[in-house]
C-alpha cells in the first residue's frame, strides 16, 4: 500500500491517540495499582519488631542469639552481644536456620508406615499417639538416640531411657570423641577448656578448624578479631587440608595425614634443645616421656623427611610460640585417624611445655557444671559403641528406637549398615522437620517443633571459663505459620512418662530456679524472687556467673607412648585401592542439617566458592598430570562405597589427598536438598582408633576414576579457574610496620615488569623516584 508522508503522519497520530484514550477510558479504580508481584502484606499493620534472646541448641551449641520477630514471624538472627560464649558473634549459617523453620517442605502431619516395606502415609494425631504409647510401654526395650547435647533435652532423654530400662546414645557425624578422651587424660575433666585466644600472643592449632566451624566458631571468631587487633597475635595451623583456619593463619603446615604428632614432637624437640622455655616447664613435660625419646627421635630434619614439612617452618613455629602467651589446641581431623588419640594428646601436652595452663591468654580449664535437670554429654558415643549397639538392633533385641536431632541413616558410614539395623527394629519413631533419610527409614514420623518454638536450656560447649547456662525460649507460637501440627520432643516424652516432669517449660524453669537458689545474688541476674529471676534470665538469654570457675590445675601427663597406636597410621594402613587419601570436611551445610536451606546452599564455600554440589578438591599440578579439569566427573571409591563428585583443582591441596565436603547427596530430602551431590559420609572407612574406639574418619583411602564427562561446577567465581595471582596485589598485604602506601609502591615496582605495563628502567627509578607515583 502506498503511503505518502501526510497519510503516514496522520495515521501514526491517530494510533497514538487511540492508545492514550484506550488507557484513560477504562480505568478500573483499584486496578491501576502496580502491585509488587510478591504480594507483600502491605495492608497489614506494620508492627514494631521485638527482639528475643534465645539460643539454638542443636545447631549452635549454646551460642546466645537475638531473634527479630515481626508480626509473629521470625525475620532475622544476630548474635547476642551480652552472651559470654559468642559475645555478639554469629555463625555464618545462623540465619539459614530461619529457612528450616519456614521451609516449604516442612512436615505438618504425623506419618506412619504400617509395614516395613510399606509406604509412608499421613495419620491423625490421636491414632498415632495410641501406637506410640504401645511402642514405648514399660515392657519394651527402648533406645533413645539424639545429637550430643547437654541440656534439659538430654536429661529427659536419659530419664526416659532409664524408665524403660533402655539406653541413651548420641551420634555425631565426623565425631571427635578422641578430643574428649585426650582432654580427660591430661586435664582429668570432661569439659573442653576455654582457649583464651583473645588475649593470647600465639595460637597453634592441629586440625581444629576453629576459625570456620569447630565447636564454637562464633566465639572463636570474636576472639580471632581481638587477636588480630592491637598487639597482633600469631596463628599457626597444622592440617593436611587447606581449611579456612589454614587460610587465615600466618603459617600453615601440611604434614602427611596422620603425622601431626611428629610435628608436635618436633616442635617440642626444638624448644627443649634450644632451651626456649624455663627449665621447670621442660622438666614437667619430659617427666613422663621415655628418656631421650623427644630429644633424639624428632629432630626437625628427620621429621622433614618423614612428614614432608620443611624444617624451617617447624623452627619458625617453635621460636614463635615459646615467646609470650601461647595456646596449642587440637581436634578435627587430627583426632580422627587410627592414631587420633595419640596425636591429640601429644598436641595438647605442648601446653604443658609452654606453661600456658590456667593463665590468661592460655588454656583455661572450665568448671564442671552439675544441674538437676540438665543431662547428656558433649562427647558423642564412639563408633565402637555404635557397632555394638547396632549389632543388638540387628539381632532384634531392641523393640523401639526413638531418634531426634540427628540423621543417622544419612550420616553413618556404610560399614555400620544402619539401614539394615533399622529394618530389624520393630518400631522406629523419629522426630523431624523435613524429610530426610532417617525419617524415610522410620515407622512413625512425628513433626517436630524447631528451636524457635521451643523451650530449652543448654550448657555451651566450650564454656567461657566460668559457669554459663544458655536459655532457649520460644519466639513464635507453635501453631503459627510454618508450624501447625508440630510436636515438642520433650513434651512428648513427658507425655509418655509423666514421672519425669510436667512440661518442657517447667523443667527449664526449674533449671533456673536452681541457679537462683544457688547463686546467692551473684552472677548475671540478681533478683528478689524466682519469677523476676526468670524474667531476667529471659532478657539476657541465659545465666552465667564469673565467680564459678575451676581452680585446680590437675594435670596428669602420662607417657603418650603408652598409647599402643602411636604413629601407627602410615602408608601401610591402606584400604581398597589406595591411591589417594580422602579428607572429608564440613562447611556451611554442616552434617547435612542445613542442606534444606537455600541460603546455606547458596553461600559460597570460603576456599572454593563452590555451591549446591559436591566437589572434590585436588591439587592443580596433580590434576594437570592426571588430565583432570575443573568440573570433570570423578568417582571416588573406598572399601565401603563409591561417590561421584565434580573436580575442583586448586593450588592448596596437598598432592595425594582429596578433600570432599559433607552435606549433600541425601537420598530423601526436601526440594533444595534432593537429587544433588553425593554423601561422602557413607564411604568413610569403618576404622576406629584402636586405643579409644573413636571413629577414624580421616583414615580413609580412595581410588580415583574419571568418568569421562564434564559438568559445570556451580561456583560464585564464575568461569575463573583457581590459580595463584601476584602476591599482595589484589588484596594488599603489608609486613608488620610497613604502610599500605609502601606496599603499593613495592607492588608497582615488582609487578610492572611482569604485567608489562611499563618497562622497568633502573636509571629512571633512581633519578626520578616520584615519576613512579602517578597512577
Amino acid at each position: 500500500m502506498k503511503l505518502n508522508r501526510r497519510e503516514f503522519l496522520s495515521l501514526s497520530g491517530k494510533s497514538a491517540a487511540g492508545a492514550v484514550i484506550f488507557a484513560a477510558c477504562s480505568i478500573p479504580e483499584k486496578e491501576l495499582i502496580v502491585q509488587s508481584p510478591v504480594d507483600m502484606p502491605e495492608d497489614l499493620v506494620r508492627g514494631i519488631d521485638t527482639w528475643y534472646a534465645t539460643s539454638w541448641n542443636e545447631g549452635a551449641s549454646g551460642d546466645g542469639i537475638l531473634v527479630r520477630v515481626l508480626e509473629g514471624r521470625v525475620k532475622k538472627i544476630k548474635g547476642n552481644p551480652d552472651h559470654p560464649v559468642n559475645r555478639g558473634g554469629a555463625r555464618s549459617n545462623l540465619d539459614s536456620a530461619i529457612q528450616l523453620h519456614y521451609n516449604p517442605d516442612r512436615l505438618h502431619d504425623h506419618k506412619i508406615r504400617r509395614s516395613k516395606k510399606g509406604i509412608l502415609s499421613n495419620i491423625s494425631k490421636n491414632e498415632v499417639n495410641k501406637l506410640i504409647s504401645n511402642a514405648t510401654s514399660k515392657d519394651k526395650k527402648i533406645v533413645v538416640v539424639t545429637n550430643p547435647t547437654r541440656s534439659t533435652e538430654g536429661w529427659v532423654s536419659q530419664k526416659f531411657a532409664e524408665s524403660r530400662g533402655g539406653r541413651y546414645l548420641t551420634f555425631e557425624a565426623l565425631e571427635e570423641s578422641n578430643l574428649y578422651e585426650a582432654i580427660y587424660d591430661i586435664f582429668e575433666t570432661n569439659e573442653i577448656p576455654h582457649f583464651d585466644i583473645a588475649n593470647a600472643d600465639n595460637v597453634l592449632s592441629f586440625g581444629a578448624n576453629w576459625i570456620q566451624n569447630w565447636i564454637s566458631p562464633a566465639g572463636y571468631g570474636d576472639a580471632f578479631g581481638k587477636l588480630r587487633s592491637g598487639n597482633r597475635g600469631f596463628i599457626a595451623h597444622v592440617e593436611p587440608r587447606f581449611s579456612l583456619t589454614a587460610a587465615n593463619s600466618d603459617l600453615w603446615i601440611s604434614p602427611t595425614p596422620g603425622k601431626e604428632a611428629e610435628i608436635a614432637l618436633s616442635i617440642a624437640n626444638i624448644i627443649i634443645k634450644d632451651k626456649l622455655v624455663p627449665d621447670s616447664q621442660i622438666k614437667d613435660f619430659l617427666n613422663k616421656f621415655p628418656e631421650g625419646k623427644v630429644e633424639f627421635g624428632y629432630d626437625p630434619v628427620d621429621v622433614q623427611t618423614r612428614t614432608g614439612v620443611s624444617a624451617k617452618k617447624i623452627n619458625e613455629i617453635a621460636y614463635r610460640i615459646s615467646k609470650g602467651n601461647s595456646i596449642v589446641m587440637a581436634g578435627g581431623s587430627t583426632s580422627a585417624y587410627t592414631n587420633g588419640k595419640f596425636n591429640t594428646y601429644v598436641a595438647f601436652s605442648l601446653n604443658i611445655l609452654l606453661g600456658s595452663i590456667g593463665k590468661k591468654g592460655g588454656v583455661i580449664l572450665n568448671p564442671e557444671i552439675k544441674s538437676d535437670y540438665i543431662g547428656g554429654e558433649a562427647k558423642p558415643n564412639s563408633i565402637k559403641d555404635w557397632q555394638e549397639e547396632l549389632a543388638q538392633w540387628r539381632a532384634g533385641y531392641v523393640d523401639t528406637v526413638i531418634i531426634k536431632g540427628v540423621d543417622i541413616a544419612y550420616s553413618m558410614p556404610n560399614s555400620l549398615d544402619i539401614k539394615g539395623a533399622l529394618a530389624n527394629v520393630e518400631n522406629v519413631i523419629s522426630f523431624g522437620n523435613i524429610m530426610n533419610e532417617t525419617l524415610d527409614a522410620s515407622d512413625i514420623i512425628i513433626p517436630e517443633t524447631t528451636f524457635f518454638e521451643e523451650w530449652g536450656s543448654e550448657i555451651p560447649n566450650p564454656l567461657p571459663g566460668y559457669k554459663t547456662i544458655s536459655l532457649q525460649q520460644p519466639v513464635v507460637i507453635k501453631e503459627g505459620p510454618g508450624a501447625s501440627g508440630a510436636v515438642s520432643y520433650v513434651d512428648k516424652l513427658i507425655d509418655l512418662e509423666p514421672s519425669i516432669g510436667s512440661s518442657n517449660k517447667s523443667l527449664v524453669k526449674k533449671v533456673f530456679e536452681n541457679e537462683y537458689n544457688n547463686s546467692q545474688n551473684t552472677g548475671s541476674v540478681i533478683a528478689e524472687n524466682e519469677n523476676s529471676f526468670m524474667n531476667g534470665v529471659q532478657q539476657r538469654g541465659g545465666f552465667w556467673n564469673t565467680n564459678e570457675i575451676k581452680d585446680s590445675k590437675n594435670i596428669r601427663l602420662r607417657n603418650p607412648f603408652e598409647y599402643s597406636n602411636g604413629n601407627s597410621f602410615s602408608d601401610v594402613d591402606s584400604s581398597y585401592g589406595e591411591e589417594f587419601h580422602l579428607i572429608p570436611f564440613t562447611n556451611t551445610l554442616m552434617d547435612g542439617k542445613l542442606s534444606n536451606s537455600p541460603w546455606a546452599q547458596q553461600t559460597a564455600d570460603g576456599i572454593t566458592t563452590a555451591v549446591w554440589q559436591t566437589w572434590v578438591e585436588i591439587n592443580s599440578n596433580q590434576a594437570k598430570e592426571l588430565n583432570i579439569k575443573e568440573g570433570d566427573i570423578i568417582f571416588l571409591k573406598s572399601d565401603s562405597g563409591e561417590i561421584k563428585c565434580l573436580a575442583y583443582p586448586h593450588p592448596a591441596v596437598q598432592p595425594g589427598t582429596l578433600c570432599v565436603p559433607t552435606g549433600q547427596g541425601t537420598l530423601k530430602g526436601g526440594r533444595y536438598s534432593s537429587d544433588r551431590g553425593s554423601n561422602v559420609l557413607k564411604i568413610l572407612s569403618g576404622k576406629s582408633d584402636e586405643e579409644s574406639g573413636a571413629f577414624a574418619w580421616a583414615s580413609t583411602k580412595v581410588s580415583l576414576k574419571r568418568a569421562g564427562g564434564n559438568e559445570k561446577l556451580p561456583k560464585f567465581e564464575g568461569n575463573v579457574e583457581a590459580f595463584p595471582v601476584e602476591p599482595g596485589v589484589p588484596v594488599l598485604v603489608v609486613a608488620p610496620g610497613q604502610t599500605a602506601h609502601e606496599a603499593e609502591e613495592e607492588n608497582h615496582h615488582k609487578y610492572q615488569e611482569i604485567l608489562n605495563f611499563r618497562k622497568h628502567d633502573d636509571e629512571n627509578n633512581n633519578e626520578n623516584p616520584k615519576a613512579e607515583k602517578g597512577h
Partner: protein
C-alpha cells in the same frame, strides 16, 4: 533548610580480620530480601550477592596462601554509575550514600556497565519465593521485581529507622546505633560502619589510627569511594620458609 547536621556514611573493612566465613553475605541476603540464588543462576554467572567475599590464591603448595576481601558497593563520591542513568534512578544523596531508587529504574543497565567493582546486580528473572519462605521476608525492604537494578544500600532502611528514632527522641545519633547487617554478622568485627563526619565515631577513629594500612580499591580510577580497606598484615611476608619439601610422593 535542613536542620539536622550532615552525616557522611562510610565503612572501614579490615582485611586482616576478615576470615572469609561469609557471615556478612548471608546476613545481607536475609536483611535485604535478595532473590534466592539457585544452581542455575550460578552456572550462568548471575548469582546475586550485594556483598561478596573474593578469595585470591598466592603461591604454590606448600607455600600457598589465600587472601579474603569483602567487596560491596563502595558508595563512591565520584561514582561512575550515577551520571549515566537515563532516568536518574541512582544518585548521591547528601548523607554520602549512593542511592538506588527501585521504582524509577527502567533497566537499561548502563550503571552496571560503568561500575568497576562489579557491585551492581540486575534482576534478570522474577524472584520466586515459595509460599512458606515469604514469611521471613523483611517488610522494611522493597522486593525488587524483574528488570530492576539493585546493589548494597548500606542498609538504608536501618539508617532511616535509626535516624528517625533519634529525631523522635530529640537526641543525637550515637555511634554504633545504626549497624549494617554485614557489620552485625561479622563476628571478628572486620566491618565497621558509621558516620565519617563524626570525629568520635569508630570509623573515623579507625581511619586515623590505622592510617598506615589504609587503602582504597582501584584508586587510579578516581572514584573516591566511601569504603576504606585496611591491608592484611603478613608477619612472614619477607621470610622464605619454603622449599618444596615434599619428599614422599603420593
Amino acid at each position: 533548610m535542613v536542620t539536622e547536621e550532615k552525616r557522611s556514611w562510610g565503612m572501614v573493612i579490615d582485611t586482616d580480620k576478615c576470615n572469609g566465613c561469609s557471615g556478612c553475605v548471608t546476613a545481607c541476603q536475609v536483611e535485604n530480601n535478595i532473590p534466592l540464588n539457585d544452581q542455575n543462576k550460578f552456572e550462568r554467572g548471575r548469582a546475586m550477592s550485594w556483598i561478596r567475599i573474593e578469595r585470591y590464591w598466592e603461591g604454590e603448595f606448600p607455600d600457598v596462601k589465600a587472601r579474603f576481601i569483602p567487596v560491596l558497593c563502595q558508595h563512591c563520591a565520584n561514582a561512575p554509575c550515577e551520571p549515566v542513568c537515563p532516568v536518574y534512578a541512582t544518585y548521591h544523596n547528601d548523607e554520602g550514600l549512593n542511592v538506588q531508587v527501585y521504582n524509577r529504574c527502567v533497566g537499561t543497565r548502563y550503571c552496571a556497565n560503568g561500575c568497576p567493582y562489579t557491585v551492581r546486580f540486575f534482576n534478570y528473572w522474577e524472584p520466586v519465593w515459595p509460599e512458606d519462605l515469604r514469611n521471613h521476608l523483611n517488610p522494611d525492604v522493597t522486593i525488587r521485581s524483574r528488570g530492576i537494578m539493585e546493589k548494597c544500600s548500606f542498609c538504608v532502611q536501618r539508617i532511616k529507622r535509626g535516624s528517625r528514632k533519634a529525631k523522635e527522641e530529640n537526641r543525637e545519633l550515637q555511634d554504633g546505633e545504626i549497624k549494617t547487617a554485614c557489620q552485625e554478622a561479622c563476628s571478628t568485627n572486620a566491618i565497621v560502619f558509621g558516620d565519617l563526619n563524626n570525629p568520635n565515631s569508630e570509623v573515623s577513629k579507625l581511619s586515623k589510627s590505622e592510617s598506615d594500612r589504609k587503602y582504597t580499591l582501584m584508586p587510579q580510577l578516581n572514584t573516591d569511594p566511601n569504603v576504606v580497606y585496611l591491608a592484611t598484615i603478613d608477619p612472614l611476608k619477607y621470610k622464605d620458609l619454603g622449599e618444596k619439601a615434599k619428599s614422599n610422593d603420593h
